[in-house]
C-alpha cells in the first residue's frame, strides 16, 4: 500500500463577499496516495479549483479556509507558519495553472523563471539550476531546449508554454503535482500530447498528481481514481473504471452521457444537463443537485444525502442511486433533455445574434 501523501479532512473554504458568504468548499474529504493520479471533476464553480488552492493556501481575497485539516505527510498545512508554507510550496507540492500565457511572467525569460523555483528553496546552486533547467525542458520534450531557455513566454507556442510550466512545477521533484485544467486553454491535438506527457512523467518520476478538469475524456486516459464535485461537495468518488462503467450519482451519469462515445450509435444525441449551477451563497435545500436532477424524488428536496458506500471503494451522495433507476426512467430523461436542447437550437437559429 502506497503511503498517503495528502489527506484533506472536512475542509470548509468560504468567500466573504458584500453579497453574502459563498460556501465554495463545503466539507470536502479526500486523499491522495504516493504515485497515484487523482481526477477531480466538476462544472465551473463547483469548488475544485478552490480546493486545490486551499492545499497551497493560495485562496485569494475575500476567501478564507474556515475549518478543516489539510495533512501533508501528517503535517497540517493550515497551521504552518510563513516560513514553513514557503518551503512547502513549489517543493513538496507544486501547482500548475490553466492558461500558461497569463500564468508566466511576460517580462522574464523562461530559463530564469524555472531557475527561480529551484534557487528559492536552496536545493540547488545558481549554476546547478541553470544546467538543470535545460534537462527539465528536455524531459518535457521542448525542442531545442538550450536556446529556448533564453526566450520569453510570448515566443513559445501554447503547448510549449504549458510544457514549460510543467517543467517549472517538477523542478524541485515534488511529491505531488496539482494540475488545474492544464489543457483547457490548448488546442485539441496539443491537449492529447500534454496528457500523454503527464502520464509518462507520472510513470518515470513517480510523482503523484491531482488533475482538475471538467473534461471526462482526459480523466479516462490519465487517472486511477476520480472524485466528482458539485456545489462545493464531493458527490461521488471511486476507481476510474468503476465510475465510468457504473456511475451511481445522477450528476456523474449526466456528465458521462454528455461525452460523445465512439461505440454509441450516432443517432443517440448528447444529453445536456438542464438548469444552471446553484448560487453558492444561497444553495437549495436538501440535495444541492435536486433542481436539475432527472430522477429526483421528494426526499431529495428535504434532506441532503450523506456520502454512502455503493460499491468496492466507491462512494456516492444520493438517495436514488442509478442502479435503482428503471430503464424507462432513463429513456424519459433522455427524451426530455433532447426536447429541451432541440427547442434551444430552434431559438438560436431564429435569432442568430441573440447572444451578442
Amino acid at each position: 500500500m502506497a503511503p498517503t501523501l495528502l489527506q484533506i479532512e472536512d475542509l470548509h473554504t468560504q468567500f466573504f463577499t458584500s453579497r453574502g458568504v459563498v460556501h465554495a468548499v463545503d466539507g470536502v474529504n479526500l486523499h491522495i496516495d504516493a504515485g497515484e493520479v487523482l481526477g477531480v471533476v466538476g462544472e465551473s464553480g463547483c469548488g475544485k479549483t478552490i480546493t486545490a488552492l486551499s492545499v497551497l493556501r493560495l485562496v485569494p481575497d475575500p476567501g478564507k479556509i474556515v475549518s478543516g485539516r489539510i495533512l501533508f505527510r501528517g503535517k497540517d498545512v493550515t497551521k504552518m507558519d510563513d516560513q514553513e508554507i514557503r518551503e512547502f510550496r513549489g517543493n513538496d507540492v507544486a501547482m500548475i495553472f490553466q492558461d500558461p500565457m497569463t500564468s508566466l511572467n511576460p517580462v522574464t525569460r523562461i530559463g530564469p523563471q524555472i531557475e527561480e523555483a529551484m534557487t528559492a528553496h536552496n536545493r540547488f546552486t545558481q549554476q546547478q539550476a541553470r544546467t538543470r533547467v535545460i534537462d527539465l525542458l528536455k524531459r518535457v520534450r521542448v525542442p531545442a531546449a538550450e536556446s529556448r531557455v533564453k526566450d520569453y513566454p510570448h515566443q513559445f507556442s501554447g503547448g510549449m508554454r504549458q510544457r514549460a510550466m510543467i517543467a517549472m512545477g517538477l523542478a524541485n521533484e515534488p511529491a505531488l503535482l496539482i494540475a488545474d485544467e492544464p489543457t483547457t486553454a490548448l488546442d485539441v491535438t496539443v491537449q492529447a500530447q500534454i496528457i500523454q506527457l503527464m502520464k509518462q512523467l507520472n510513470r518515470e518520476l513517480g510523482t503523484a498528481m491531482m488533475l482538475i478538469t471538467h473534461n471526462m475524456a482526459l480523466v479516462a486516459s490519465l487517472c486511477t481514481r476520480i472524485v466528482v464535485m458539485y456545489a462545493g461537495r464531493i458527490v461521488e468518488e471511486g476507481p476510474v473504471d468503476q465510475i465510468f462503467k457504473s456511475p451511481q450519482h445522477p450528476y456523474t451519469w449526466s456528465l458521462l452521457r454528455s461525452v460523445p462515445r465512439v461505440d454509441e450509435a450516432r443517432k443517440d444525441r448528447l444529453v445536456s444537463i438542464r438548469g444552471l449551477p446553484p448560487d453558492l451563497s444561497n444553495p437549495p435545500p436538501g440535495c444541492k443537485f435536486h433542481p436539475r436532477c432527472p430522477f429526483v424524488i421528494d426526499h431529495c428536496k428535504e434532506e441532503e444525502p450523506p456520502l454512502g458506500e455503493v460499491g468496492p471503494n466507491q462512494l456516492a451522495r444520493c438517495w436514488v442511486l442509478m442502479r435503482t433507476v428503471s430503464d424507462e426512467a432513463i429513456d424519459n430523461a433522455r427524451a426530455a433533455s433532447l426536447a429541451s436542447s432541440e427547442a434551444a437550437k430552434k431559438l438560436k437559429q431564429a435569432v442568430p445574434d441573440a447572444g451578442r
Partner: protein, 310 residues
C-alpha cells in the same frame, strides 16, 4: 428578460438598444453614491450661483463693490472695516473680487469646452471614418501638435494678441489658445470610437450593399461615446481654468481692473509678508475649484464606465 416568440419574418432593425436608457439612470445612481463627486457637484453649483448672482448682491449692498477702492482701508486684514476677507493694496474688497473672479474662471472653463467639442469631433470623425492616408496624416498632425508644450503655446499666443477693451475681447485669444492646446485628447477619443464602430458587422453589411454607412456610424457614435466624451470635457474644465489662472498670475491674462483669481494671487503674493491672507484666499479658491471639478470628473468616469464594479 422574457423571450417573446421571435418574429423571424420581420427584418432586423439595428436600432440603438433600449438598455442605453437604463445606462443613464444606472450611472446617475452610481454618481449619487460617490460622496466626493457629490461634494464636488455642490461646490460647482454654489460657484455658478455666486458667479451669476454676485452683481445682484452688489446691487443690493450685500457685498461691497469689487471695483470700489476703499482708500482708507488698504490691505485690511480679514474682518476689518466691513471687509469680511480683507482688502487688497487698492482697498478693494477681497470677498467681492473673489466672487466676481469666479465669473471669469467658470466662463473660461466651460466655454473652452464648447470650442473644443466641434474641433475634436470633426477631426476625430474625419480621421476615424476616412481611415487610410487621411487618418495617418491627421494622426501625425496631432502628434506634432502634442509636442508643443501647452503653457508655452498659450503664452506665445497671448503675447501676440492682447486686445484691450472689454473683458470679453480680452478673453477671445485666451479661449482660442487654450482650446487649441487641448483638443487633441477629444479627437483621439472620437477617432477610437469611430474605428471600433466601423469594425462592427452591420457597417460591413451596409457597405457591401452599396450605401455609405456614415449615417449608421453617426447614429451609433453618440450613444456609445457620449459617456467618455462627457468625462473628457469635464476634465478639460479644470485644465482650462488652470491655464487661465496661470496667465493671470503672470500678468498676461485679463488685465485689471477686472478681477481674476490668478491676478489676485499675484497681487497678494507681492504683499505676502504684510497681509498673507490676501494671497491665500484666491489660492484656495483656485485649488478648491479645480479639486471640485476633478471629483466630478472622477465620479462621472466611474459612474459611466460599464466595466467598473465595486
Amino acid at each position: 428578460m422574457a423571450l417573446a416568440q421571435p418574429a423571424i419574418d420581420q427584418p432586423i432593425d439595428w436600432e440603438v438598444p433600449e438598455k442605453q436608457l437604463g445606462l443613464w439612470s444606472d450611472a446617475w445612481q452610481r454618481f449619487r453614491r460617490n460622496r466626493l463627486a457629490l461634494v464636488g457637484a455642490v461646490i460647482v453649483v454654489v460657484l455658478v450661483l455666486i458667479a451669476v448672482l454676485s452683481p445682484l448682491l452688489v446691487h443690493f449692498g450685500v457685498i461691497q463693490d469689487p471695483y470700489h477702492q476703499d482708500v482708507a482701508n488698504i490691505e485690511a486684514t480679514p474682518g476689518m472695516a466691513g471687509h469680511p476677507l480683507g482688502s487688497d493694496e487698492l482697498g478693494r474688497d477681497t470677498l467681492a473680487r473673489l466672487m466676481y473672479g469666479s465669473q471669469i474662471s467658470l466662463t473660461v472653463g466651460l466655454l473652452v469646452q464648447v470650442i473644443i467639442f466641434p474641433i475634436g469631433l470633426a477631426i476625430g470623425l474625419a480621421a476615424g471614418y476616412a481611415g487610410g492616408r487621411i487618418d495617418n496624416l491627421l494622426m501625425r498632425f496631432t502628434d506634432i501638435w502634442y509636442a508643443f508644450p501647452d503653457l508655452l503655446f498659450v503664452l506665445v499666443v497671448v503675447s501676440v494678441w492682447h486686445p484691450s477693451g472689454s473683458p470679453f475681447f480680452q478673453l477671445l485669444p485666451i479661449f482660442g489658445a487654450i482650446a487649441l492646446v487641448n483638443w487633441v485628447g477629444l479627437a483621439r477619443l472620437i477617432r477610437g470610437q469611430v474605428l471600433s464602430i466601423k469594425e462592427k458587422e452591420f457597417i460591413e453589411a451596409a457597405r457591401s450593399s452599396g450605401s455609405a454607412p456614415i449615417k449608421l456610424v453617426l447614429k451609433h457614435l453618440l450613444p456609445n461615446s457620449l459617456g467618455p466624451i462627457i468625462v473628457t470635457l469635464t476634465f478639460g474644465i479644470p485644465q482650462a481654468i488652470f491655464l487661465e489662472a496661470v496667465l493671470s498670475f503672470l500678468g498676461v491674462g485679463i488685465q485689471p481692473p477686472t478681477p481674476t483669481w490668478g491676478q489676485m494671487v499675484f497681487d497678494g503674493y507681492e504683499a505676502v509678508y504684510a497681509n498673507p491672507s490676501s494671497a491665500v484666499f484666491p489660492a484656495l479658491a483656485i485649488g478648491c475649484t479645480l479639486l471640485a471639478f476633478s471629483f466630478i470628473g472622477d465620479g462621472l468616469r466611474d459612474a459611466l464606465d460599464p466595466r467598473m464594479r465595486r
